[in-house]
């Protein structure tokens, strides 16, 4: 119990202290910040539908911050630890040991649906093992798929495994198959029928890049002051810039764009390795570290 509490405390700490990652910022910027109509019109494929709905609620309650976007994951972390504990008691202590391995920690302190899906999938397994609240099994499996669509196959495998153990077709249909399909359909039908746009490729920042990016953005905020500015950023940094803009309510910043080569911006956020491009464009560099450089056009209002 003490180990589980310690693991949870560590997860909370990581959720508060870690700078926002590209994937987390991308999820917020593309699917949580816009209205539902805007999300559907953008036609981007959303793979973390349930998580986005929960994140929207969390952000609505606690405003935009790295912690608020990770809060739903953290809460599902409690469910995960509880289920691991229950399964450990019921099946084997090894289960408990495996369940608290550090490999799982990240999933419950980052803002995407993976942790939620794992917790719900494990919850379905626990309910099946305990043979209690059987109606919830299908609902948990369905919700797991809606939390992360990549869990469709694992959820199907778990459902079939339950059928194999129960060996009761009608009970399985009524309590697992139908609830799972209904729940998944209700939450996924609109996102899936509108997901026609190709997926945007967004390279993930390393931990050190994420930390340096926050410093770069601070420098940019100080440099821009209250002027209305347009920002061009690298594909990996663009969602983070937009997240930062929402977090600090920087209304004078227009939404950052990722393709900075084709347009003129007031400020540019380069990878440090691309600093030569800044020189070619005759930009003035106002910040530089090992990973990023911030530059502005010489005519940009300061």
């Amino acid at each position: 119990m003490a180990v589980l509490a310690a693991v949870f405390a560590l997860q909370v700490y990581r959720a508060v202290a870690r700078p926002i990652g590209t994937g987390e910022a991308y999820l917020y910027d593309r699917f949580v910040r816009p209205t539902m109509r805007q999300v559907l019109q953008s036609e981007l494929p959303d793979r973390d539908v349930l998580y986005c709905l929960l994140e929207k609620r969390s952000v609505g309650l606690f405003h935009v911050s790295p912690f608020s976007v990770r809060l739903p994951s953290l809460l599902f972390g409690i469910l995960y630890l509880f289920v691991v504990w229950q399964l450990g008691r019921r099946l084997s202590g090894w289960f408990l040991t495996a369940g608290v391995l550090p490999i799982f920690w990240d999933w419950f302190s980052q803002a995407d649906g993976t942790g939620t899906a794992i917790a719900l999938l494990l919850c379905a397994i626990w309910l099946a093992v305990e043979r209690r609240n059987l109606n919830l099994i299908g609902i948990c499996l369905g919700l797991s798929v809606t939390a992360q669509t990549g869990f469709a196959i694992p959820a199907a495998i778990v459902a079939l495994a339950i059928l194999a153990f129960w060996w009761r077709w009608s009970g399985w249909v009524d309590r697992v198959l139908i609830p799972a399909v209904v729940v998944a359909l209700i939450l996924l039908v609109l996102p899936l029928t509108h997901a026609y746009a190709p997926e945007e490729r967004t390279p993930e920042l390393t931990a050190s890049q994420a930390t340096h990016l926050q410093s770069a953005l601070e420098a940019l905020r100080i440099g821009a002051g209250s002027d209305r500015i347009r920002i061009g950023a690298t594909p990996a940094a663009e969602p983070v810039v937009n997240f930062y803009r929402a977090q600090h309510r920087a209304g004078n910043w227009e939404r950052a764009r990722r393709d900075y080569s084709s347009e003129h911006f007031d400020y540019y956020l380069f990878l440090a390795a691309e600093e030569a491009a800044a020189e070619q464009r005759h930009l003035i560099v106002i910040y530089r570290d090992a990973d990023f450089a911030v530059a502005h056009r010489s005519s940009a209002a300061m």
């Binding site: 539902m36 109509r37 559907l40 109606n135 299908g138 009608s170 249909v173 009524d174 309590r175 139908i178 609830p179 399909v181 209904v182 359909l185 209700i186 039908v189 609109l190 899936l192 029928t193 509108h194």
Partner: protein, 577 residues
Amino acid sequence: MPVIGAVCGAAFTVGVCVALGWLLLRWLKLEFHRLEGVLLAFVSGSACLSLAVFGLCVIHQARLPVFLAGGAGAIGGALWKARGMARGKPLPALPRAWAVLFAVVYVAFLACYLANALAPEISPDGSGYHLGNVARDWRHHGFDWDYHSIYSSLGQGMEMLFLVAFSIGRHPAAATVHMAFQAALPLLMVCYGRRCGFPRVGTFAGLLVYACPVVGIAGVSAYNDLAVATSVFAGFYLLEVNYSQLCTKSLFLCGLLSGHSYAIKYTAGLTLPFAAVLTRGRRLWVLCLGAAAMAGPSMIRNWIWLGNPAAPFLNSWFPNPYWSASAEHQYLAGLREYPQFKSYWDFISQVTVLGGLVPGMIGPAFLLLPLSLLALRQPHGRKLLLAGAVYSIPAFLNTDVRFMIPALPFFALALGLAMENSRGMLPIVVLFQSFICWPAAMDAYCDPNAWRVRGFPIRAALRPEAGSQYIASHVGDYALKGAIERAVGPNQRIFSFAGRAAAYIDRDIVVGYESSQGMRIQEALLKGSVPEAKSQGCDFLLVNDTDMIANDIKQNMRRWGVTEVAKANGTTLYRID
């Protein structure tokens, strides 16, 4: 206020239907429970009224006093017969929570549909040929034997009911009569569920179908799809109720409904063979007798009038001068042609959720239909799935989503049966479909051009000036109504390449693809020979800017021998000099 006329016209028509049906059920000595008795009386009475009006149209006595006198007689007779009679027994009760759920969802959608039905008619086919035929019949107090169009030779089963309502409340009254069938369908499904021992399933399926977007928009328009669906379902209901002991009178009524369904829409002719299969051919003659009583008059009319009892189809079997087999083939091929879809999933999402590339959609909850196969475990489920499969056949012959409507009640009931034992799933799906198919919610996700109910047009329904603006903003041809009626004499004819809002234009319009005469005029015009077109009985031309001859005729009016009379919304009216 036009709305009062519309309500009176629709109420009178529905009242006469119920009265005639009630008299028919009494005459056949068929006993039903309270609510199902009223609903079956309405559906079977609509068949009787349709047949009676058909007879009046043949002898050109379709006049308001005749309708009023006949209707008052039928209502009076029914009331006289009903005096002192005990009310029928109620059906087994609905669980309280389900009764509340049904009442809330049903009333909300009913209010929305009623507001739309009472607004001026703006649907493409409703303002085109459905009410176009009705308006022509009204002008002539019967069938116009000189006017030939594929649409005027169709069954006219529903148009006959529209005619009674139209005589009192004009276009919205007719649409409201169709809405009455739409309102009756879920109630009939609830009765079916209560009768067969699965009341929750009946309620679930009734609401699922009632909230369906294509059912909503087709039901509030002067179409016939909901009348077909309700008649077909009523026929199935009768067979199911009497399955164990096949009663001759009940079979006759079932045959009557089969014939009426055919008279409304030819595709519903499947009802008779399906009923014969369900009864395993027992007392087939009774079924056929009932069907012949309803479908026969229309076939005889077409045989005598056009030389083809199945007009406008089967022209290769019954060659006639009014429409050719090749034109029929071309027309049917056009109906089967789907737009280009990126994938099967694209097609499914269009039909259920988006509704942009196909006209209308059936609602996201119907994506669960594969689960209905689980109903094969039950005898009722097998019959429902078979019925659904049979009534889906027309959907393969026509790309309009509304052609799926007759199959939806059966599939929805089968789906309900499959999900009945999953606790909480039936109400969740019903609530989901109701929320997501509410007009304001659909704005968020479906295609902007999807054919659907878009709100509550109460102003258009209540105020005449707002009503005219409403029609003008949705029906482009309405802007030319005044000019056409001033310039074109009552006996003169207008030619058009495309279909027109004939319901609002008080003159006969010959449409290019709708008859052999139209095709001859079209060919003459495409050759540039206006005198030849005039010799075919065409005095005016309505030309869209997108028509092939539009630019040439506009620039060389003298050479063509025409004069521009009026122009609006990309359409020009020319007089042939």
